[in-house]
């Protein structure tokens, strides 16, 4: 490589380094924000769960149309991934886990709801039917989009278009650890929701404290149990889904932050190596020139 080329390459690598460093910082901020939002939403999910489990110890819940388990012949998959790459193996891990979970179901028996481009592309290529698709571009979780998704899912579930709804998303455990997770959204079960609420707490770091709740006496319930369940169950489904979206967002940002960090480190390393090569080459050129001059003089003197 010529000296000039190396110099150009050092310049471009430095520019890449600036970009990746900026992206790292931005992702770090976004990750914090998403975590805060997830925590803010937790009281809702926890309260809804508590009310539901106190209402009847889950006995009536089993009879609710959205909680009654059926033989799973057809299945709906909600896959939550990012729209963009540059986040390591994050989306690939989620799609892999989702595919694993779909094993045993023929392609025709699966409806895919994709939130995020990566998941959509993955399942389109493999011949699955994409029933719904939303872009995951914006950093906010849009409640309107989520409401529609929940409405679609519950309606189709009640109409028995499918017998089970599972969600594949990536669970934020810590900045360095995001686990691809599969959860059953419908039929709704208290255990699943409880697990989810507990998962909202990351395993390490600033927000990793959890307060426990206490048991409760008998209630005066007005009007009817069933009516309350009709109201609570869809809300709990919505709250669960909302949290899964937030977890995915937090995972995406933290994965991107880590990926950008290693990209920045790598680019620094490349710059160092290139600079060394550049200096060596330049020195070699100078030495060659000097020896040429000296050689020429010798030739003239003799």
């Amino acid at each position: 490589m010529a000296l000039k080329d190396i110099k150009a390459k050092i310049g471009s690598t430095n520019r890449t380094n600036k970009v990746t460093r900026a992206m790292e910082a931005v992702s770090a901020v976004k990750m914090r924000k998403t975590q805060e939002r997830a925590l803010k939403g937790r009281p809702y999910a926890r309260a809804a769960l508590q009310i539901l489990s106190r209402l009847s110890g889950g006995a009536d819940l089993v009879r609710h149309p959205l909680a009654r388990a059926r033989e799973p012949k057809r299945i709906a998959l909600v896959i939550i991934t990012s729209d963009k790459g540059l986040a390591g193996a994050l989306s690939a891990n989620v799609t892999k886990a989702a595919r694993e979970a779909l094993r045993g179901y023929p392609v025709e028996a699966v409806s895919v709801y994709a939130y995020g481009k990566k998941g959509m592309e993955f399942f389109t290529h493999r011949g699955y039917r994409i029933t719904g698709f939303w872009e995951n571009r914006i950093d906010e979780v849009e409640l309107s989009v989520m409401d529609r998704l929940v409405a679609d899912l519950t309606r189709a579930y009640a109409a028995e278009a499918f017998d089970r709804v599972i969600v594949a998303y990536s669970n934020f455990r810590s900045t360095f650890e995001q686990t691809p997770t599969i959860r059953t959204l419908l039929p709704l079960s208290l255990e699943e929701v409880r697990k989810l609420v507990e998962d909202i707490v990351p395993s390490k770091g600033k927000y990793s404290t959890l307060d426990r709740s206490q048991d409760v006496p008998a209630y005066t319930i007005e009007p009817e149990d069933a009516e309350l369940l009709d109201l609570l169950v869809p809300r709990l489904v919505a709250a669960s889904l909302y949290h899964m979206l937030l977890e995915s967002k937090a995972s995406e940002h933290s994965a991107r932050m880590v990926a950008m960090k290693s990209a920045s480190d790598k680019s620094k390393e490349v710059v160092r190596d290139l600079t060394r090569t550049y200096n060596k080459l330049r020195q070699a050129a100078i030495t060659r020139e000097v020896s040429e001059i000296v050689g020429g003089r010798e030739a003239l003197a003799s």
Binding site: G41, P43, V216, P217, Y219, T220, L232
Partner: protein, 82 residues
């Protein structure tokens, strides 16, 4: 503080009110009712309307209910989900 209770008013994704309150007036499906401290445990559906909260520090808050909600009271704690 003897007559205050813990009140949480939450919507999916945001907490509207979280703290000590003296009184909250709710539009139930069977009529408007008020919850004070040491109310008996109950769960109830809410109709559309407005929630009026009087916080322990005397401040008042109003929230609109669209599309119904659930109120739950136990252990001197009230939770309202919209």
């Amino acid at each position: 503080m003897a007559n205050a209770f813990n009140l949480t008013v939450a919507r999916v994704g945001e907490n509207l009110f979280d703290g000590q309150a003296v009184s909250v007036v709710l539009p139930g499906t069977e009529g408007v009712f008020q919850v004070l401290a040491h109310h008996e445990p109950f769960v109830s559906r809410l109709a559309e309307g407005q929630i009026h909260v009087v916080a322990a520090d005397g401040e008042t808050y109003h929230f609109d209910i669209e599309g119904g909600g659930v109120a739950e009271v136990s252990h001197n704690e009230a939770t309202i989900l919209l």
